[in-house]
Symmetry: D2
């Protein structure tokens, strides 16, 4: 049974819309509009346990998953959803031991998902030109316990990729098409290029650039996620939904 430890993080769950990612320490109080919680009470209890606030409201203490961290960081810098990250992971086909370059680092959400997939013996090299963003990302990655699988690099990926023989290059940046020739050189034979872009003009330029290099299986898809409200006699897709996050373009390097 997995026990909540002093210094560990838990996801406090109140209801479907309200969750809080907090660090558990003795005597540490966490204040909510439903009263305060003494987080120290959780130490030694198994994940999934409940804790009551000073107003008698029950919260559950869940073990944070990568998706919880993505969700929390996404609130600020937007863009990559679990549907897109999941599809990217399957398309680039990485697993433990793989070496991946990513750009930009952003909030580190995708970085965490990639690091979780390649650990314990793989590595993620994450490029960004914005040092201030990478500092935020470093904290997020550290808290996710994935810091030792990630190398954060300040640099412009449109100018160079230091690594070679990579399993995948994953881009979430404004000008992915500028990276295509550099990514081709850095990938191993059969390695996967993947790019996430909100606009169709970015996709057009990226696909065009991919077709000029030795890549095969150049594909663009878009994933639309609908939440279904499942309640007796009221079952229906949700009224308001995210209509678009972005397009995912992928390709595989060949040697020619």
């Amino acid at each position: 049974m997995e026990i909540i430890e002093d210094g560990g993080e838990v996801l406090l769950y109140l209801d479907g819309r309200r969750t809080y990612l907090v660090r558990v320490e003795p005597e540490r109080l966490f204040h909510t509009h439903k009263g305060y919680l003494n987080l120290g009470e959780l130490i030694g209890k198994p994940y999934g346990s409940s804790i009551k606030s000073s107003l008698g409201i029950k919260f559950y203490a869940l073990k944070p998953l990568i998706r919880d961290r993505i969700h929390k960081s996404a609130r600020r810098t937007q863009i990559l959803y679990p549907k897109d990250i999941g599809y990217l992971l399957v398309k680039i086909g990485i697993g433990p031991g793989c070496r991946v370059v990513e750009a930009g680092t952003g909030s580190g959400a995708l970085t965490c998902a990639l690091a979780n997939a390649v650990k314990p013996d793989g590595r993620v090299y994450s490029y960004d030109v914005r040092p201030e963003l990478q500092r935020v990302a470093a904290g997020n990655i550290e808290r996710a316990g994935l810091r030792s699988y990630v190398e954060l690099k300040i640099g412009d990926i449109t100018e160079r990729i230091d690594e070679e023989e990579l399993d995948a290059v994953v881009l979430d940046m404004a000008t992915p098409w500028l990276v295509v020739p550099i990514a081709h050189r850095a990938l191993k034979g059969g390695g996967v290029f993947a790019s996430f872009s909100p606009t169709i003009e970015q996709v057009m330029k990226t696909a065009s650039s991919l077709r000029k290099q030795p890549f095969v299986e150049v594909e663009t898809v878009e994933l639309i996620m609908r939440r279904i409200n499942v309640e007796e006699n009221r079952t229906r897709p949700e009224t308001l939904m995210i209509g678009h996050s972005g397009y995912i373009t992928t390709a595989r390097k060949v040697l020619d």
Copy 2:
């Protein structure tokens, strides 16, 4: 540089619609409508290399990814697409070291994706009542190099799950709602239940059953994937598409 070895598998790529998963051996011939290939020529070359058929047509030899195996096995038994598998993986939040129960085994496509995510020190326990299907799955999992991370079990999961303190229970079967109480017992606190179902009636019964047990974050979503045809002055979503594969219902166990 990763080299194609004698006895290894490659994905032969002809074009976007025609790929072939084959074993490379000296003097082995592979016949296609574009002429035959001498697969032995590939031994010692890096993945991504090309090979010409007897009619001079070029094929590329890619390293098979899990998604290629999913794609190949999906052709026969249908149902789980990369979009759904990727989303499931992110929602259940597994990584190296996790322990997961799956049912049914089916062709082993999802089993491979799960095993790839939990290796090298995690484990997938895959239940199915159909021994003949598990034999096919065993071959697919073996060829993917993931056999040692998977325990195939002949048994009816609606009656029992042998394992305890699981990180996740993943169902792709006709009557997931019958498994809900058993899955709750087998999961650890905070562990994730996930079920994939084609029909809305299955979803209704499963969601109703989940609400009767101590689960939180009970959610149902549907993912719609559109391929975009990106070509100069002809860019548009594809005319014919897969409109529906299934609904994904997830929940997290709490202790009460």
Copy 3:
């Protein structure tokens, strides 16, 4: 050239999100946060003309279309969008001279669309059990200039339809399945039944009821509308969209 007359209505257009449906009269002032407009200035000008507010902001005076009235009334009582109304009109196949029963009247939005389609010699019989709603609807229909083609009836359509040999029966109400046998009797041979329902349970009951009567072409569809933001280098589907309004179920009566 069509001229704006004293007493006529215009749709004042400020921008894509702000339009106002107003009556034009001499010296009548219309106040907005962009200053006030003297609506009397519009009398005698052609539709499409501009008018400046007291703060010098330009508004355009458009001739109100049925869809503008739908949009304005929909804000209050929700539900039927142009996409759904348009599809309904094509499916029921009505034109000038047709006789249609509708229930419930609601805000009169669908009533206007139906009346516009059957005028000048057809007729819409609109049932509702809520007299207060029909009073609102009567005003909306009057302002649209369609009052003489509509008969508003206070009554419970699940109990009776007074008319016979109808071209179509169109339902936007909570329990359409209760109307199916009554609708069958009231339709002429080949006449079309159409029902709009937000939930899948309503659809299931309605489809089941239709299959027990002599109806053919029993079909249910759902229309999803995406707005596309078309701007140079920023072209993409809108981020937030209406994910679901309702399902449309249609069938054609046969004689047996």
Copy 4:
């Protein structure tokens, strides 16, 4: 009660996938793979009646709706679906008495829908450069009983529109952006421009051209239609669907 007459057309309905649009005449035989029907038997019977084939299979004789004609003609020349036509009709807001220009005529499917909406005192002017297509369209429009509301014109609409003060200009052609300035001149103030285009490049050029003229409410949408299979314990969206037909761009003329 509406009676089938000698010389009239009926839609023979066998099942959801098989319908036939035929002319009823005494002694006329219609051969199907389910045996032949003596169509003369239908004369004098009400629409909706059944007729048995020589093999004892029952067919229903429905009165053809405009959508049946659209469906039948669409099989050959593709493109406009009821969902798109319905939305177009609501957006252009036409009704009896309106004057509309359309290009190209194509098979006459949209022409029929427009003519049905503007009859008895409106008029559709339909331009096409292909005389051979217009001959086919003329037959379709004639059979729909709408010939007297339509003026078919051989001519290149990118060069001129003869009419003035139009309520709407509706385009289903390869280069709609070339028509934008001409359409603006031909529309009355507040008149609606509408264009249907399969590719996003067409949409980009058309929207850009609309923004250079005095138009307001420039909008592009896409409608996605899902058929729902409603059957007890098997309810779900259909597996294979039409993923894309085209984008609809609309705008309203203002005077400046």
